[in-house]
Symmetry: C2
Subunit: 349 residues, 2 copies
């Protein structure tokens, strides 16, 4: 190692081989261990004088509390497990960022798991994470493999599901209705007078819900069934391009409007349209879903159904914090919070 073991006079404890403990601090400060503990966790119970001595001692020997030991003794790890399908998508990234921020401010660390939209992954991550005794768990989506769900229902760890709505949450839910998103997209396009539709959708749980809402609303309105291109997860720009290319090649007539399950796909659709000299939105309207910042400045402008990833993250984290602090019993029932979404029109540049 490049690091030199300098003869730092303060390093007496670190040279002794093991990290200084609370007992070391207590000795230096001339108090009992529990007083040191109190200075750290409930300073109000300790006299000014003792606090001073203890803090001085902590600085002097470079003491860092061992939270493994603390967690074991107090049965509270001050960690939250967060499981998301991906962070490569800017909107989930915003949510993750907001969650870690909010939790960090409240003194909780975030244990991150990325499930890649795989049940098996999610299960393994949970398995691994439960052993750490997290004080709370935040999960993306409302579908979870049956055994995972059961495990979570039995645990008394507060669970927040987010990014979706469901009639039977495990515990607490902070999200919005993807079915409604799809319906809103269809309603919007129908109101604009469009009648010949196509759809490019990813095939993950929530994208499929949106698509179903979209298709169902169209069916109810009695318009022709749209051509649908389903693309694999994670949705990449180029998949949108390929998706619409296939649709346009096989379509018997012109397409009025294209529904995309995400802005990323919508972007690909737009570029392909541009290649083919199809003007947007005059020749073909495009509606996306997700992160407005992206589509707002991409030319030509498209209509987007916008959700605020950061806001969802913040609210999910706050719901969890409330849950964790509401006494540790299951007395308080978990709630459902609908964060909603907004349709953002950007027809004219």
């Amino acid at each position: 190692m490049t690091k030199k073991i300098t003869k730092n006079p303060r390093a007496r404890k670190s040279t002794s081989g093991r990290a200084p403990t609370l007992i070391d601090v207590a000795k230096v400060a001339g108090v009992s261990p529990i007083t040191v503990s109190r200075v750290l966790n409930q300073p109000d119970l300790v006299s000014e004088d003792a606090q001073q001595r203890v803090r001085r001692a902590i600085d002097e020997i470079g003491y860092v509390p061992n939270m493994l030991a603390g967690g074991l003794a107090s049965r509270s790890s001050r960690m939250v497990a967060l499981i998301v399908p991906t962070i490569a998508n800017s909107i989930f990234a915003e949510t993750v960022q907001a969650i870690t921020d909010t939790l960090a401010q409240a003194g909780y660390q975030t244990l991150l798991g990325i499930s890649a939209y795989e049940d098996e992954q999610e299960k393994q991550l949970l398995e691994a994470v439960l052993g750490r005794r997290p004080d709370g768990i935040i999960l993306t989506g409302t579908y979870h493999a049956p055994d995972i769900r059961k495990r979570l229902e039995v645990t008394d760890v507060p669970v927040v599901e987010t990014w979706d709505l469901s009639p039977d949450p495990i515990d607490t839910l902070v999200g919005f209705s993807h079915t409604r998103v799809g319906e809103a997209a269809a309603e919007y396009l129908l109101a604009k007078g469009h009648r010949r539709f196509a759809a490019v959708s990813a095939n993950d749980q929530r994208a499929v819900k949106r698509l179903d809402g979209f298709l169902q609303t169209l069916a109810n309105a009695g318009v022709d069934e749209p051509i649908v291109a389903k693309v694999p997860t994670p949705a990449r720009f180029q998949l949108g391009r390929e998706g619409i290319a296939g649709i346009l090649d096989q379509a018997s007539g012109p397409i009025d409007a294209v529904y995309c399950s995400s802005d990323t796909l919508a972007h690909g659709v737009m570029v392909e349209a541009q290649q083919r000299n199809i003007r947007i939105p005059q020749d073909m309207a495009v509606i996306g879903f997700g992160d407005l910042d992206f589509s707002e400045y991409t030319l030509p402008p498209i209509t987007t159904i916008r959700v605020n990833g950061a806001e969802i993250g913040r609210r999910a984290a706050m719901a969890l914090l409330a849950r964790m602090n509401s006494g540790d019993s299951n007395a308080v029932p978990g709630g459902v919070i609908d964060t909603g979404f907004a349709v953002i029109e950007r027809e004219s540049a």
Copy 2:
């Protein structure tokens, strides 16, 4: 809580109020606690027969090992702290994803901290995280506030710095030279015959290094000093647009080529150029840095200096794993791995 406390016959331990422990397993299996521990951690030392009985017991009572206790006793938490400036940027997101994946496969969980490019944040995150006794730490960048650095040098926790190169790493380093990236950009543009330059750069540590490399190389070549627009972090699409707009408004003549510290900024530059009927690359060349997938399909195509975020993450994680497993002493010196970068030309559509 919505969850019903069902009269599940197996839930005898969970209804008893506390989670089953290793001792509970031992009783059911008719062995001593240490045997249970061995089945979990060193199964080779235990007879087939005993293993069977223990595993059966574990399933029966739904035992989940308490890693807080395990970590305390074994002085190894099997957690790694990861501190990044942001994940809202797809390239860092890839790195984070690769790191968590690689570590998870090796049985380590990732404790995520997001520093928002703030020293103070980074410090607090580290402070908070050190108490969890992580087995390793992965940090973004090579600059760290002096006190953070000192703290880390004294610790015997393996540290991997990534996403940059430096002559004096704390321990191990996996990254590439940002100065060289800037130089390569300048060399590339100069070779194309460009002479009147502009630059739009973010103002974080590494972006500034790239910019400096770019400017220095131009200065050495004796060309006029470029107009530079520095934009705040995190770089958003629109900042690129505003940056180049300001430059074009104040420039006394045409600009041959624009250097951008990231593809996100480059995208903004391109859109603004499009608005002003400046053709790319014929009228004005643009070079970016970061994630090829983004710029490759954005029209018009630009040249990008590409780094593979996932690859960097994987290598950083593997370096850390090697470090953590190389006996716990500081015997093995930390190494420096240069992951390099590539110049991707996309001049013609």
